[in-house]
Amino acid sequence: MSTSTDNNASITQESGPSAAVQDIQKKIVVRTADGEVFNLKEEVAMEIDIIKTFFQEDSISYETVMPLPNVEGWEMVKVIEYCTKHVELKHKVDGYKERKAFQALFVQNLSTKSLLALTNTANYLEVKYLLDFLCQAVSEQIKNKDVDYVRELFGVENDFNDEEYEQVKAEAPWAHENLNNDLH
């Protein structure tokens, strides 16, 4: 392992070996429910409040591997992806288009089921902006779906009788009119 003086020398050289540079950046290690281990850059890890609290507020040494028993490996990959991008865009003045393009790609191959799992994870990990984004993404996916689909997706039982259902529907007829949109 390099000594601290060697590390300092790496900083001042114009082209130092990248491994030495990485040694300088602190890494935080977490282990997900399926045993996968992830090395996070400190600035990304600190976006995840549950991790931030564990290491900073409880003053636990960065050497410790933090267990995340409620998180699957694939979920951690996605969370890291989003937080890394978020940190990168923080320093950009006009990242609007880039953010939008990234967000579209991020959810592109995720089924609604996976989105829901990821939403749950974002809640557990306490990453507010990711939670908001995912809740919005789920609502975008379900907004034109019919009532039966929504009930099945969330495991909700219909406790209306026919009359009550018609009554609720009649309270906002404008929302049920579908003259030129693709409700199904």
Binding site: V156, D159, W174
Partner: protein
């Protein structure tokens, strides 16, 4: 204790960050092998997260979701859900609201007399017909919209009564009558989660209501600070040479109101706090046609107008300028020439110019009196110009000038008005 202060404490404030995170499991459970019912997924999805997803639904989808079950139906009246909804308030929807230009003709298909508007969603390019519960079908006209509320103003040339309506939550609040009798004043209407601020300018009735003159501006404001009495105050005389259109719309940006003045063209600018007026010269003044000031998501004032340069061989065009540094205009956009050829031609044949309204990243252009469906939607972020789908309820040419409307399920700020002016159905 003054009941006013008691009411204020009922206004839900955005939740602190930590309470966003819900604890574990919701209680609904069943164990069949239906692939949707993966127990690991939905059994762990906390109710609060589910509510958050519902809160993000756009209004029509939200109202359809009320049919899912009793709990979801009741969310609209549940404080914790409304607090959640206000918590995600920064997620703005830049929609538009139109009414029929001829507001006397408010009889709908079922021969019911009722006030209704036509909601346009520029994201999905969809129209909805939206009733205004409690708003009387005659005697009032829609005048402005802000923060989810639509302001209706009495038609009579007398002290004006203003009604604030939230068509989604079905509430109606009434302001006290203005101090001055007016005919069709210009209005500046700004609603935030904690304040309601209204300025009316011009069209004062003078000489025992025999004449109309642009004399004064008056203001009404309520907020939580208690610095303002909930009554109208005459704030300032108007500049001598201002010439506003009837029922003009003042655009509010950063504590200033901007109103288009005509003959000659000028932008009358009003600083609300200092109650002072001054003029801003528009660009290309001699060649402007149908100029209007428009708000935008950039926080800068926009001017939209057609250019008709008769003396030079320059194609006629429709342009958008942005006001920089208070006095300099920079042209930022032009309607594509092919599109303007059609648009301009229809405008000429109808003879009424064009209407224009902006909200967030969108600007909508329409031709009043046109029998063809030429509404144009411009997106400032994507720089795309699109033809709007025709309104299925009313011909596009019969629509009033639109309002920048932000659909909001709840507008608790109106409780600031409740203690003195209880919301009561206006006698028909």
């Amino acid at each position: 204790m003054d009941p006013h202060f008691h009411r204020l404490s009922e206004i839900p404030l955005p939740l602190s960050f930590s309470s966003t995170y819900a604890g574990s499991s919701s209680s609904s459970g069943s164990n069949h092998d239906d692939p949707w019912m993966d127990p690991r997924i939905w059994r762990k999805l906390p109710t609060r997260i589910l509510d958050r997803i519902i809160a993000f639904l756009p209004p029509p989808a939200f109202f359809r979701s009320r049919c899912v079950c009793r709990r979801w139906n009741g969310l609209l009246f549940t404080n914790s859900f409304l607090q959640l909804f206000l918590d995600i308030f920064p997620h703005r929807r830049h929609w538009f609201l139109f009414c029929k230009a001829d507001t006397q003709n408010l009889i709908d298909d079922n021969n019911n007399n009722r006030a209704e508007g036509y909601l346009f969603d520029p994201y999905e390019l969809v129209w909805y017909r939206l009733p205004f519960p409690l708003v009387p079908p005659s005697g009032f006209s829609p005048a402005a919209s802000s923060g989810g509320l639509v302001c209706w103003i009495s038609d009579n040339p007398a002290p004006k009564t203003l009604l604030l309506s939230n068509p989604l939550s079905g509430t109606l609040n009434q302001l006290p009558p203005t101090l001055t009798s007016r005919y069709q004043p210009s209005i500046g209407f700004t609603v935030t989660p904690t304040s309601i601020d209204v300025t009316l300018a011009g069209d004062d009735l003078i000489n025992n209501a025999l004449a109309v003159k642009n004399s004064t501006a008056e203001r009404f404001r309520v907020d939580g600070t208690g610095c303002f009495l909930p009554t109208w105050q005459i704030t300032s005389p108007l500049p001598r040479l201002c010439n506003f259109e009837s029922a003009g719309r003042m655009v509010h940006i950063n504590g200033r109101l901007y109103n288009m003045s005509y003959h000659p063209f000028n932008i009358a600018t009003y600083d609300v706090e200092t109650a002072s007026w001054w003029d801003i010269q528009p660009p290309m003044k001699r060649f402007l046609k149908c100029p209007s000031v428009v708000e935008s998501g950039t926080g800068k004032l926009l001017l939209v107008a057609a250019i008709e340069k008769r003396s030079l061989i320059v194609p006629k065009s429709l342009r958008v300028w942005s006001l920089q540094e208070g006095t300099t205009w920079v042209e930022i956009e032009r309607m594509p020439q092919l599109l303007y050829d059609r648009f301009g031609e229809e405008m000429e044949s109808c003879g009424n110019g064009f209407h224009c309204v902006g909200h967030g990243e969108f600007i909508v252009f329409m031709i009043p009196g046109s029998s063809r469906h030429l509404g144009v939607l411009f997106n400032m972020n994507t720089k795309l110009w699109k033809c709007m789908p025709p309104c299925p309820f009313v011909g596009m040419g019969d629509l009033s000038r639109g309002f920048a409307y932000e659909p909001r399920l709840a507008t608790p700020v109106t409780s600031l008005l409740n203690y003195q002016f209880p919301a009561a159905p206006f006698p028909a």
